[in-house]
């Protein structure tokens, strides 16, 4: 076959922040100067060994990295196929992968002299990570969260408040993550002079998708080294869930040029792809929102549609632009799992491995349940266990009680 392939899947974006046709900088003029400043600050930080050294120190002693790569023996036996490894991001301080990115952005904010930090959050994990690092470095922290999510993720709201952050419930639009992002952008436009916007996933205007990806790539880089040490070779496949896509991009990116590695991203199919869901690639098309061009859920007139997922962290009508590109170019396979499939996977992993996953990575586990049995026993499969399920225990408990009645 002579389909033109890029020399490297890892070289993007171009200098204007494009991955193919995706990405870019679609923001109000008020924000442009700040986004250009951020890009400059990030370029300088990347070239400064002191910046990396400081981050490494906090990653090791504050976040608790490296996170283990754990052989899930009982899950493997149960599924009867591929050898399944879990990348234990749920063991990080604050309980998810979000902290990797927030640490990086807070270090940047400090370099830029910003004292006020804003963030948007769905499940609350990104909000908790941001509140945590703001507490650690004595920065003011404001977290926008859809009013619906404030209801279903009470525990994380309380955590953020204990950490000294102000949680702002967002009543506009669908009152979920996309509206929290709109509200954060409005705050930023209003307080552009002293405020740093800490975005929680690989989306938004350039350079956010790139810098978040870079900060999360520690997941894939560690996985590579750990797999080398345990099995003496590369894994054969990678699986991760996708909300905006940051935990997935963090795991995938270091492997994109390893052509033997199959890669699977799992979107939230909610009640099913023909009903309410949050699968932007499976059910959307390219459009422009929140500063970038990417796959979005929308109607025929370009109006953004409501996303739905049992998991507040996946309930977003878009996906990071680099994923849209990887989909169109065919390097990554995008699948989806329904609410019910995620719930079943949540219970299976809890019972077999003694690990209660967040509902988000439960979507990835759901697809592992399908993929692993079809692979040979020497196939090495890595699943990103992006977060722990503490935040979801009350919600899942209620659902299971309701079901057993």
């Amino acid at each position: 076959m002579n389909i033109a392939k890029p020399n490297s899947y890892r070289s993007g974006p171009d200098e204007r922040g494009h991955f193919g046709i995706f990405g870019g900088r679609f923001v109000a003029e008020t924000l442009m100067p700040l986004i250009l400043d951020l890009e400059k600050a990030y370029t300088e930080a990347k070239a400064d060994p002191a910046f990396q050294a400081e981050m490494d120190g906090y990653l090791k002693n504050y976040v608790g990295r490296p996170s283990p790569l754990y052989f899930a023996e009982r899950l493997t036996e149960h599924l009867g196929g591929a050898k399944i490894y879990l990348k234990r991001e749920e063991l990080n301080h604050t309980g998810s992968h979000k902290v990797n990115n927030v640490l990086g952005q807070i270090m940047l904010a400090r370099r830029m002299g910003k004292k006020r930090i804003i963030a948007e959050t769905g499940a609350g994990q990104h909000g908790v990570a941001t509140a945590t690092l703001c507490a650690r470095f004595g920065l003011e922290c404001i977290v926008y969260m859809g009013a619906v999510d404030v209801e279903r993720q009470q525990q994380n709201v309380i955590r953020m408040e204990m950490l000294g952050a102000t949680v702002m419930p967002v009543q506009s639009g669908t009152r979920t993550l996309k509206d929290a992002m709109n509200e954060a952008l409005r705050d930023w436009v209003t307080n552009v002079h002293n405020t740093f916007y800490c975005i929680g996933t690989v989306a938004g205007p350039h350079p956010y998708p790139t810098l978040v990806r870079d900060f999360q790539s520690i997941i894939g880089n560690e996985t590579k080294a750990q797999m080398q040490e345990i099995e003496g070779r590369l894994p054969d496949s990678l699986v991760a869930c996708i909300g905006g896509g940051s935990n997935a991009m963090g795991l995938f990116h270091p492997f994109l040029d390893d052509s033997t590695v199959e890669i699977f991203g799992v979107e939230a199919a909610g009640h099913g792809l023909t009903q309410l869901h949050a699968a932007s690639i499976a059910g959307g098309r390219p459009g422009v929102l929140h500063g970038n061009r990417t796959y979005l859920l929308m109607d025929a007139d370009g109006q953004i549609q409501d996303a739905h997922s049992i998991s507040a962290g996946l309930d977003y009508p878009g996906i990071g632009p680099e994923h849209s590109w990887l989909h169109e170019i065919g390097r990554v396979n995008y699948l989806s799992a329904t609410d019910d499939e995620a719930l079943a996977a949540f219970q299976l992993l809890s019972k077999l491995e003694g690990i209660i996953p967040a509902l988000e990575p439960a979507h990835a586990i759901a697809k592992v349940m399908e993929l692993a049995p079809k692979r040979p026993k020497d196939h090495l499969m890595v699943v990103n266990l992006s977060g722990r399920g503490d935040k979801d225990v009350p919600q899942v408990g209620d659902i299971l009680k309701g079901k057993s009645k």
């Binding site: 204007r16 008020t30 506009s172 209003t190 929140h290």
Partner: protein, 278 residues
């Protein structure tokens, strides 16, 4: 190419008068009432009309304008129907400049070339697309200029002298100076600061400069009119419209007149400015 916008600002300059620019949302609260409102605006003293394209996620707008957009969408407004509304307006008015203001996604989904052709034949004169900075000029700005439409760029307090030339380079019609770093409907701008900003931008361009965001009263409009080539009022008109609706959000007998009366009062304020300045 000379557009209705160019002609209007040339006339106003001759008269020594600052422009009064009104913003309303297309299809708010419904398409029929909206057309009547747009028709009433020039009669009430509006020199230039900005017509909002409704969008679900207007990230630079405040609650009033977002709610107006959602009302319009709920009642079936689409981009196609917005263009039909413009066509309806043009049946009786072939001189008042009309600018569409909104976000890029509905246009991108409509198809840029088709949109520009349809906008032109409907009688649209210019575009203000909030989320297309000069860095994304190839998307719509350059094709719009080629299609004979003005592309009006926003300049803001964060646009410094270094960046201004980039912002102004492909701008035509007029420059829209956003008087505050913030969203629509937020705090009022300080007229002295606006005067300084307008003088700063004038050093870089000969285009007229209109100032918007935070102007609500005839007095405020008058203070801005003394400093700039035009003042833009949006949220105050949208609020007047909203306050005229019944409990279910439907138009009442007062809806069109509520917008027209406030427009007339503001227009009088703006016109008073020139007389006072003479």
């Amino acid at each position: 190419m000379t557009t209705r916008i160019d002609t209007r600002f040339a006339e106003l300059k001759k008269q020594g008068r600052s422009a009064f620019v009104t913003y309303v949302m297309a299809g708010d609260p419904d398409l029929t009432t909206s057309l009547e409102i747009v028709k009433a605006l020039p009669k009430a003293g509006s020199d230039v009309i900005e017509l909002g394209i409704p969008f679900t996620d207007p990230m630079a707008d405040g609650p009033s304008i977002q709610a107006a957009g959602l009302r319009a969408l709920k009642n079936g407004t689409t981009l196609k129907k917005t263009l039909e509304l413009v066509r309806g307006f043009r049946k009786d008015d072939n001189v008042t400049p009309l600018v569409l203001m909104g976000y890029y996604n509905p246009i991108y989904i409509y198809g840029v070339d088709k949109f520009l052709a349809d906008a032109k034949t409907s009688g649209v004169d210019g575009l203000i697309i909030v989320d297309l900075p000069p860095e994304e000029d190839e998307e719509l700005c350059i094709p719009a200029l080629k299609a004979g439409l003005n592309f009006i760029r926003l300049a803001t307090p964060t646009t410094d002298d270094k960046r201004l030339p980039a912002v102004l380079s492909n701008t035509s019609g007029f420059v829209y100076y956003v008087s505050i770093a913030g969203i629509t409907g937020a705090a009022a701008a300080d007229a002295t600061a606006v005067g300084e900003a307008v003088a700063r931008i004038k050093r870089h361009t000969n285009l007229p400069i209109c100032v918007g965001f935070g102007i609500r009263t005839p007095e405020a409009a008058r203070a801005i009119a003394e400093k700039a080539d035009g003042s833009v009022v949006g949220t105050a008109l949208v609020d007047a419209l909203k306050n005229s609706l019944d409990a279910d959000g439907h138009a009442t007998a007062k809806t069109v007149s509520a917008v027209a009366e406030l427009t007339a009062a503001l227009a009088k304020g703006v016109r008073g400015a020139q007389q006072a300045a003479e």
